[in-house]
Each structure stands twice: as structure tokens, then as C-alpha cells.
């Protein structure tokens, strides 16, 4: 891993792509070992997380999960918080061997993120809490004169929760420009396509109408992600919403864009195919 400079790790685009590839591999091994987890939800936000942690965006310090100056990162779509597990091990927050004990008795890492895991800021699993919790972190930073920022990764399906919008209104009123929401707009929830089930519509416009600066990007493109994150702190007192258009299950062809894979486990044949596509050995 590249060593952090000024509390940030900054890889170039090629290395970021390699890191995303590595993260998908690690997640696949972790989940398939136990046959528990949510691969497609993690794969839609893989590049987002890699950009945050390794693209020089978030302030993180290797081996120091409690660094008071760290940026706070909350995966509010808690079923995908496991996307952080390989990264947090890579940062030396806990031994990599914990990935092999995922969901096992006595292991540190559970199906849903637990606030006792080093590097996890708060509990998640129930949807709709992350923006309010993040607004709390952002307000505390403001009051304490601290520079850390709070990044919250939301599912698009999660945005059905009314609490998201209560907190969105609040954050804008309080001018929390140290709060950043990244909406993983993969267009799917468990039962199908969001726009068919209950239309979410123009997410960018929705966030903007709540007083946020809002931009839409390709959430799998580092060429899109890095300039989007460059907007952080330059939003003239507005919190920033990045609508990241993504593909659920990105990286495993038969899972891509298919809602039925939310928490289904592949067959042995499908595992073999997925391993080939992910560049993993048999």
C-alpha cells in the first residue's frame, strides 16, 4: 500500500483501478468463504470507496482508526458496509486474518457494520440513519473547530426513507459543507428497479431542491469521481450530494443490474465463472 502523505493516501488512476479490482477480489473471497453477505451492493460502490480511501480524498492514517482529525466515513446502506472491511484491514486497523473470520463466532466482523469495529464510525443496517448521524458529526466538527469532513454513502433505495430528507433539510439549513452524501444510484432494490417500483426520479434535482450542491457522475469512473470529490469544501456553504450512477453487481456479469442477486449465493458453476471474471484462481 502506498504510504500516506499528510494523512491521505493518493494513488494514480491506474493504481486506483487496480485497487478496485483487488477490493472486489477480497470481498468475493470473504463472502464466499461464509456464503453470507451482499456482493452486488458492495460492487456498485467499490470505486466510490476506493476513491475515498485511496484517492487522496479522505484523511485516514494507517494504524490509527481513532485519529481525532480523521475524516468520518459512514456507509449508511449498512448491508454494504462490509465493503469497508478489506480496506480497514489494509489500513492496519485490525489484522487481515479477521477477514477470514467474517461472521464467525468470536470474529470482529459481522454481516452489518458494528461501531466497535475500528474504522466504523457508527452502527448501520437499518436504512435512513446515516445522513442524520453524519450531520451530527459535521455539527460537532464545526462546534469544536475541527476540519474533518463526514462522508456518507447512501443507497438510492435508502432514499425512500423519509428520515433522509428530514436530515437533508437540516444539514442545508445549518450550512454543513463539511458533510458529503454519495448516493449509490444503482437503480435497484430487493424487488426490482426503483423507477418501476416507486419512482425516485431526478435525484440530483431532489437534493438540490433541499439546499444541497448536487452533481451526477459515473460512479465507476475515477475520471469522474476524482473531480467530483475535488468539489468538497468548495460548495459555498452547502452540503454536497454526489449522485453516483452505478451498476449493482458491477464486475460479475451475471449479477450486473439484476435485483435477484441482492443476497443470493451463486452455485458452484457460477462461483467458478465469477472467479474467472474477477481474475481469481480456481
Amino acid at each position: 500500500m502506498a504510504s500516506p502523505k499528510n494523512g491521505k493516501i493518493k494513488l494514480n488512476v491506474n493504481d486506483l483501478q487496480a485497487k478496485a479490482h483487488w477490493l472486489r477480489q477480497e470481498l468475493f473471497e470473504m463472502v464466499m468463504r461464509q456464503k453470507k453477505g451482499h456482493i452486488p451492493s458492495c460492487y456498485s460502490c467499490t470505486e466510490i470507496m476506493v476513491a475515498l480511501y485511496y484517492g487522496g480524498v479522505a484523511k485516514v492514517t494507517e494504524g490509527q482508526p481513532d485519529d481525532p482529525e480523521r475524516d468520518r466515513i459512514i456507509v449508511s446502506k449498512g448491508h454494504a458496509a462490509m465493503v469497508q472491511y478489506p480496506i480497514l484491514a489494509d489500513l492496519g486497523f485490525y489484522p487481515k486474518s479477521e477477514l477470514e473470520r467474517f461472521t464467525e463466532p468470536g470474529g470482529l466482523l459481522g454481516m452489518y457494520a458494528d461501531f466497535r469495529i475500528p474504522g466504523i464510525e457508527g452502527i448501520s443496517g437499518s436504512l435512513g440513519h446515516g445522513i442524520g448521524m453524519g450531520a451530527g458529526f459535521a455539527m460537532a466538527a464545526r462546534q469544536d473547530g475541527q476540519d474533518y469532513r463526514t462522508f456518507v454513502i447512501l443507497g438510492d433505495g435508502e432514499c425512500y426513507e423519509g428520515s433522509i430528507w428530514e436530515s437533508a433539510m437540516f444539514a442545508a439549513h445549518r450550512k454543513l459543507d463539511n458533510l458529503i452524501a454519495i448516493v449509490d444510484r444503482n437503480q435497484l432494490c430487493i424487488l426490482g428497479r426503483t423507477e418501476d417500483l416507486l419512482e425516485l426520479g431526478d435525484m440530483e434535482e431532489k437534493w438540490r431542491s433541499f439546499g444541497w450542491e448536487a452533481i451526477s457522475i459515473d460512479g465507476h469512473s475515477f475520471d469522474d469521481l476524482m473531480p467530483a470529490f475535488d468539489r468538497v469544501g468548495k460548495t459555498d456553504g452547502k452540503p454536497l450530494a454526489i449522485i453516483a450512477n452505478t451498476v449493482k453487481g458491477k464486475g460479475i456479469s451475471f449479477m450486473e443490474g439484476r435485483s435477484e442477486w441482492h443476497n443470493r449465493m451463486p452455485s458452484d458453476e457460477q462461483i467458478a465463472q465469477a472467479r474467472t471474471e474477477l481474475g481469481l484462481g480456481a
Binding site: 461501531f115 464510525e121 457508527g122 452502527i123 443496517g125 437499518s126 435512513g128 440513519h129 446515516g130 445522513i131 442524520g132 448521524m133 453524519g134 450531520a135 451530527g136 458529526f137 459535521a138 455539527m139 460537532a140 466538527a141 462546534q143 469544536d144 463526514t150 423519509g162 428520515s163 428530514e166 436530515s167 433539510m169 437540516f170
Partner: protein, 317 residues
């Protein structure tokens, strides 16, 4: 007869206490979901950075509190009882209880306090639902002195607490003596031998009125103010109740899971098996326009009902 001065409101006692502490501790934050109080005006004017209006958005209020508490803030949440409990129960369960965060929830108008507002503003289930939360302390002061002392504890020792306040001022119960019984979790306001009447909040006053009449009728009843429903002091309470012949509980709650249930559980757990009766609200309770006393009468929890229930328990009905 001279008119009695109106008793101090519990909410003013609590807010004054928090406000005094907040002036010396900038980490104390007071969050309201659009509920005011006379005492709140000073805090809003003097400490604008420590007063947060969450919007009429209880879900936001609680989620926000979690982030603030995780950042080391001492957070006090304040709203009408029905909206700080059932309205945002999932938030409280998921982001406060699950992480056992030091957040103090202050509810105003518990039970039937918002009498004329009727059903949407009643909380006939708040004791049952809040005491079911993991790791919470449930406190229900009977007068402004108790409310103030409880607020002092919440400031000095921040923890996950639910403080339920009556909307209407209640006559003083303790005369400076609340501090001495705080650890005990209940006040043995009047000692007796035959029937122990256990109540909390506004109904302690009704129990006291009943006790006066019962004395004239030759029944030796006692009155207990159970101001800490969770964790209930089962050992202390069962010891005291064990000294009575029988027990009556009375509450402004549906009987399922309420204060009376908590007392019965404590007695069972300590193997004190007494003849016992619970007065409270029942499924399908009728809703009418009327003040709190009218409702108490309608629901069978007013002073005359307490008297009758005690006479029955004492074998004098």
C-alpha cells in the same frame, strides 16, 4: 382560603438546570423538535450554539443526536411525549440504544397530559415501549424537585435516559428530601401496613388524596412514588411491599407492560407473592373531550377508583 401558588412546571425545572450547566459546559447541547418552555427562552437567547431546532423531525433529531454523542457531546432531546417516543422509536432503538450513547430524552405531557388533544397526543404505552429498550433508564418524577434532581444526575453522569415529565405542575412531594431517596428509585411518601398504593407522576397526587380518605375509613394505606421504573429497584421495592398485606398499582397507561407490570415483575423476581391489583387503562378505552381529571374518571384511575380498589384489597368493600 388563600389560593395556592401554582407548582413549578417540571419542564422549567429541568431546562433551568440544564441551562445553568450549559453555560459552563459548551459540550452540552439541547435539541428541540419544536417544543418550547418559558425556561427555554433564556437558553435560546444566550446560548444559540447550544440550542438546536431539529425541525418537527423527530427522526432527524435522534439520528443527529447519535452523531453528536459519538463526537463526545452531551445531548438532551426535548419534545412532546408522543413524538419523542413512538414517533422515532426505531431511531432510538437503532442509533442510541444499540450503541448505548449518553443521550437524555426528555418527554413532556406523558400519559394523558395533553388531555384535550386526545388520542394522537396521549401516550398510554410510553412506559411499556421505552422500558423495553436495551440499556435505557426510565425516570418519571412526581414533582419539580424530583425533576430538577434527575436533570442534575443526567448532567453529571450522562447516560441513555428517558425522563418523562408531566405537562401540568404537580404539588411538591418531597420538601427537599428527593436527593436522599434518589438511589433507592422510589419514595415511600406515606407509610402504611395494609395496602401499598404504588403510583408515578401525576397519579401520586391522586393516590395521596385516596390515602387521606382511606385513613378516615380506618384503612392503613401507604403511598409509594415509583420514579425509576427502569432499572427498577426490585430488591428495595419488594422489601418495602413485602411489609404490606396487599399492593395496588395505578397508572395512566395501558396495563400491558406498564408501571404496574414492572412492579409485578419485581415482586415475582424477588419471590414476594402478594395479593395485588393493577389500575390502568384498558384496550378500547373511550375517547372524549375533557380534562385530565375527566379522563381519569372515565378510565377508572381517579381517586374514588383508587379508594374502592384499596377497600376491596383490604376486605372492606
Amino acid at each position: 382560603m388563600d389560593a395556592q401558588p401554582l407548582p413549578k412546571l417540571m419542564r422549567d425545572a429541568v431546562i433551568d438546570t440544564i441551562c445553568d450547566a450549559a453555560r459552563k459546559d459548551k459540550d452540552i447541547l439541547f435539541i428541540s423538535a419544536d417544543l418550547g418552555a418559558a425556561a427555554l427562552d433564556g437558553l435560546r437567547a444566550d446560548l444559540p450554539d447550544q440550542f438546536i431546532h431539529a425541525g418537527i423531525s423527530e427522526q432527524n433529531m435522534v439520528d443527529l443526536a447519535s452523531g453528536l454523542a459519538l463526537s463526545g457531546k452531551k445531548v438532551f432531546l426535548y419534545a412532546m411525549a408522543p413524538f419523542i417516543t413512538a414517533r422515532c422509536y426505531e431511531q432510538v432503538k437503532c442509533v442510541i440504544a444499540s450503541m448505548n450513547l449518553p443521550v437524555t430524552m426528555i418527554a413532556v405531557g406523558v400519559g394523558l397530559g395533553y388531555d384535550h388533544a386526545t388520542l394522537t397526543h396521549f401516550t398510554p404505552e410510553d412506559i411499556a415501549c421505552m422500558r423495553a429498550l436495551n440499556g435505557i433508564e426510565v425516570l418519571t418524577p412526581g414533582d419539580a424537585e424530583a425533576a430538577k434532581e434527575i436533570a442534575k444526575v443526567a448532567i453529571a453522569d450522562p447516560d441513555f435516559r428517558y425522563i418523562r415529565l408531566d405537562r401540568q405542575g404537580q404539588a411538591p412531594l418531597y420538601d427537599g428530601g428527593f436527593k436522599a431517596v434518589y438511589d433507592q428509585g422510589f419514595g415511600h411518601i406515606v407509610e402504611g401496613q395494609q395496602v401499598a398504593i404504588v403510583a408515578c407522576g401525576a397519579l401520586v397526587q391522586k393516590a395521596l388524596r385516596a390515602q387521606e380518605t382511606l385513613t378516615k375509613k380506618g384503612v392503613d394505606a401507604g403511598v409509594i412514588d415509583l420514579f425509576r421504573v427502569k432499572p427498577i429497584n426490585g430488591e428495595g421495592l419488594s422489601k418495602v411491599l413485602g411489609g404490606y398485606d396487599t399492593v395496588l398499582t395505578v397508572e395512566e397507561q395501558l396495563l400491558e407492560g406498564g408501571m404496574g407490570s414492572a412492579v409485578a415483575e419485581a415482586l415475582i423476581d424477588h419471590n414476594v407473592l402478594k395479593s395485588m391489583k393493577r389500575l390502568g387503562m384498558r384496550d378500547g378505552f373511550e375517547v372524549v373531550n375533557g380534562d385530565r381529571d375527566t379522563l381519569h374518571d372515565l378510565y377508572g384511575i381517579d381517586t374514588p377508583h383508587i379508594i374502592n380498589a384499596v377497600l376491596e384489597l383490604a376486605g372492606k368493600a
